[in-house]
């Protein structure tokens, strides 16, 4: 008497759920995807307090040598020659959208006179809030800076 009925196991790896996992990952990347409007390489100053910058905020970047680039948050940033051009750019953006936030992305070694001109231009253009872009300061770095 043959008690053992022979079962055939299919030689297939179940891949149906693979697509679900992949689509979950896609959704994650789509949600976190933001087009970087300004690709200027700067060493950001480090701060402890860091607020989330609103999406679509306009960018003004200043390199260590004082080169300025501006972006309205939708177009890729373009270089401008002087702070006066920042004023006309900011005035145009504020004219279109009076509550537009501006982000100042500047190198920590930039001499303050360049920053002063940019902030002054933004003030004259009646910008209400600017965000000083920064990287995270850790407690160790803070303590070290405090003892210096």
């Amino acid at each position: 008497m043959n008690l053992h009925e022979q079962k055939t196991v299919p030689a297939v790896i179940p891949t149906a759920s693979m697509a679900d996992i992949a689509f979950l990952l896609i959704i994650f990347f789509m949600v976190t995807f933001t087009i970087e409007v300004d690709k200027t390489q700067v060493t950001l100053p480090q701060t402890v307090i860091r607020q989330e910058v609103p999406k679509k905020a306009a960018y003004v970047s200043v390199t260590e040598a004082g080169q300025i680039r501006v972006s309205d948050g939708e177009q890729i940033s373009a270089p401008v020659g002087s702070a006066d051009e920042v004023l006309s750019f900011a005035a145009e953006v504020i004219g279109r959208e009076p509550t537009k936030e501006f982000v100042l992305k500047a190198d920590e070694h930039t001499p303050y006179r360049y920053i002063d001109e940019v902030i002054d231009a933004l003030k004259q253009a009646r910008v209400s809030v600017i965000y000083l872009l920064s990287s995270q300061e850790t407690k160790d770095e803070e303590n070290r800076a405090g003892t210096n």
Partner: protein
């Protein structure tokens, strides 16, 4: 003569779905840059022709030297000592103006660092409500 009937599978072929999805993942992974999207918010005052009148001696002046060192009300001070210096003054007048005035050649990072320190005061029981960073044009127009 009986022809053998071919069985058609009643399943939707989904094996290539994962390939397509992974291609999309790779695209998003390559194009995503985790950009720094955080910073210190700084509310700019309105550019009025007539700013609020503040007695100079009423405010605390923090000067940032080109070396990044601080001089508070004429005295050299470490960044970590500023809040302790401000505490008794703010207890008397919580709205006491604190003015940060960086030198033209001071590094931007030093100014941000002082501003960050003052903003952190709220967590340390020394809330500095009235911080201003006047620009050179404003100083030329209104201070002298």
């Amino acid at each position: 003569m009986k022809l053998p009937s071919r069985r058609v599978s009643d399943e939707i072929p989904t094996s290539s779905m994962a390939d397509i999805a992974f291609l999309l993942i790779i695209y998003f992974m390559v194009t995503t840059t985790f950009a720094a999207t955080r910073g210190l918010d700084f509310a700019l005052p309105k550019d009025d022709d007539q700013p609020p009148v503040v007695e100079k001696e009423e405010s605390v002046l923090i000067e940032v030297q080109p070396s990044g060192d601080l001089v508070v009300d004429g005295r050299p001070m470490l960044k970590s000592e500023v809040l302790d210096y401000l505490k008794p003054k703010l207890e008397v007048n919580p709205r006491k103006p604190v003015i940060i005035r960086p030198d033209a050649n001071a590094p931007y990072g030093a100014m941000v660092s002082v501003y960050d320190e003052l903003r952190q005061g709220a967590d340390k029981g020394v809330e500095v409500r009235n911080i201003s960073i006047p620009t050179q044009r404003e100083i030329d127009r209104f201070w002298f």
